[in-house]
Amino acid sequence: MIEAALYLTGRSLVNATRRRVARLRQPKYLIGLVVGALYFYWFFFRPRRGGGLGAVASPGGEIVAVGLLSTLVLLKWLFGSAETPFTFSLAETQYLFTAPLTRRQVIDFKLLRSQLPLFFSALLSALIFSGGQVSGLRLFRVVGLWLVYSTLQLHYAGASLLWASLTQQGVTGWRRRLGTLLGLALVVALVWWSLRRALPGIVSAFQDGSTQGYAALTSVMHSGPLGVLLWPLEALVAPLVAASPVAFASRLPAALLVLAVHYVWVVRSTLAFEEAAVEHAAKVARRVEAARQGRWGERTIRARQSTGPIRLRLAPTGGPAGAILWKNAVGATRDLRPRTLVLLVALVIAGSMTLASGPLRALDLVAVMLLGLGAIALVLGPLTARCDLRQDFEMLDVLKGYPVHGRDVVRGEVAAPVTLIGLVVWSCLLGAFAATASRPGPELPSLGDRLALLVAALPATAAVLLVLVLVQNAAVLLFPAWVSVGRDRAVGLEATGQRILMTAASLVALLVALVPATIAGGIAGVGAHAVGLSALWAVALGILVASGVVVFEGAMAVSFLGGVFDRIDPAGTGTG
């Protein structure tokens, strides 16, 4: 079994590398590779200050590592799902499940196969945390990180399987979450009780110096009930935070024990789950049969509802661009749950209330966080929200078969991410304005000036968003062979290079689009100021005019791209 997994992993790696080397004959991959390689060289090999991953061996390193690990585990137990942790590809299903292998061997195979990506993740993480100093990279730290990742993967799998098992036993929804919360409350209470007793000593030690403080905190973590509770986490991170290879070797057995216990837990859970799944499938079959025979008294099975709770209705009449916008919006929001939004708002408010102190009110922090979120959505949204031609280009045959003009297709495709991201950005802007509406100052501009800024920001963000999304879609239509289409994003050095080039092209396009807009906006703003409008309102007016110019440019671009869509031949796109 191990030999087979190693063979498959090895051959897959060799063949994938060969394929990648062979495709370097195409300029798009070669140039992408060069740019990607330059980027990684700059990232990893340029001289930097700072201790990098070596800093984890400092006194506070273990505490931070245990804290991070605890947070990840807690988050999994709080928000994790009962979805199966082992997803097999079609080929794996076809070859493994029909092969003369036990289920345990299949699981072992899957676990083994996942180790190579985990090792690469550990290596990459170690490189990133090494502050770009490849020379400072230590193999034992990579192995230490690999151990942490592998155990975490198994822990996540175990938690998912436990939840799946509880679900099958009828313990679902809030009952399951309540149980989890009670368990976590118990853990938190134990941690608090342990720390409360030792807190004066820890504070006093920190007053003497950080080294003494960390030592006191570490001592508390290693003793009493807290020591027992945190032992698996401490044992797991101990090799990672070791100061030397010798210390690493001495700490390795305990970490391997934690890994082994997780392995046994997952394998046993999986086997039990398989049996339970078979039993459940038999129950379902019996109920269906009963229903067919008219015995409806027996509980029927509810059909799985694939649609999310957020329903967007499509009017039966209207333009085709609206239908395409609806289609993409439905797809993009399918997995969005109202409770996610509620949770996000609650987190912003709770975080602000916790951090608020002195003259800095909680609402001020809400405004700052919202503005930060809005800025992130504006910059990263057009790159990550691919609910446009980047996603639909795979369906070019279908789109071209519809009785729709190319300009309408492009308009609908571009409108989807602009509308969705725009809603997020505008909500953030309006929320930030509302949060500071009652703020008298003097730290902030007057309410009227803030209103002027809001009036300027709303169209300006929409215009920037339009340009950024348009550039992405234009690239799909004009240079289809250069852009990765579909939901799965390409990976690798070449793909990184291609993305860097795309980002650079977006910035150039933004600058080009802004030249006439800035001239027109500038003239309008200066003129308005000359006739007596206040400086801020004159700027707002100028931005409004400039945004109008950008929207006009966008409309022209959509019309042009629509023509390209009409002429494009699906057979000649050579996407990939």
Binding site: A303, R304, L314, T317, W326, G331, A332, D397
Partner: protein, 239 residues
């Protein structure tokens, strides 16, 4: 009515379709047959307005596909061999989306009956990933027939269907032709072509080898009389 005159399409130096001319009258079912690589799918994709021909004209329902593609596509339905569906739209949403694009205003009223007819009522809220191949095929056909097209293009229409689905598909094709639709059907299943097509177009290497009813083809090649369509096909294409 489908009229094709001098259709030519090349991919680089390879001529996929070469100077192809034919027409399909309302109520007629034309079987498009030929060995792999004969240009059948390219012909259908050109008729559907998906690929642009290198030369020649295509008219569907009196509308020129080059000059007025929107009007031509409005009366057309193309059912490809592989059911392409948006993986983020449910069955019901696919039908609503298609209805809006083809301006079918009474979709709300027709939806339950249509889902029932397609045997997809239970799967109305399912995403394509949860459907079998046959169900996907049915959904594509449902979307295609939603706007009552007068020109129908089928590429391997029986692929993935169960026996009852096959029977229903044949009935649908015959029924639509009886109602006046012009149908082009591409298939390797010669018995299907023999069973439901009124005329046959045999292609090889992008060119027309024979066109007409079986009787008309036999009149031109009396040496093939008494032989099955399979034998006629193999002799004419030299495969």
């Amino acid at each position: 009515m489908i009229e094709v005159q001098g259709l030519t399409k090349s991919y680089g130096s390879v001529a996929a379709v070469c100077d192809l001319s034919f027409s399909v009258a309302p109520g007629e079912v034309l079987g498009l047959v030929g060995p792999n690589g004969a240009g059948k799918t390219t012909t259908l994709r050109s008729l559907a307005g998906i690929v642009r021909p290198g030369g020649g004209t295509i008219r569907v329902g009196g509308h020129d596909m080059e000059r007025d593609p929107v009007a031509a596509k409005r009366v057309l339905a193309f059912m490809p061999d592989e059911p392409h569906l948006f993986d983020y739209l449910t069955v019901e949403e696919h039908l609503r989306f298609t209805a809006r694009l083809y301006q079918v205003t009474d979709v709300e009223r027709r939806l339950p009956a249509l889902l029932q007819e397609l045997e997809l009522s239970e799967k109305a809220k399912a995403l394509p990933g949860e459907l079998s191949r046959g169900m996907k095929q049915k959904l594509v056909i449902g979307c295609g027939l939603l706007h009552d097209p007068t020109a129908l293009l089928f590429d391997e229409p029986l692929t993935g269907l169960d026996p009852s689905g096959i029977r229903r598909m044949k009935q649908t094709i015959r029924e639509r032709a009886r109602q006046g639709a012009a149908v082009v059907l591409s298939s390797h299943l010669l018995h299907l072509v023999e069973e439901i097509c009124t005329r046959v177009l045999i292609m090889q290497r992008g060119r027309k080898v024979a066109l007409g009813t079986i009787e008309e083809i036999l009149t031109e090649r009396p040496d093939l009389r008494g032989r099955s369509l399979e034998d006629i096909f193999l002799t004419l294409t030299g495969t």
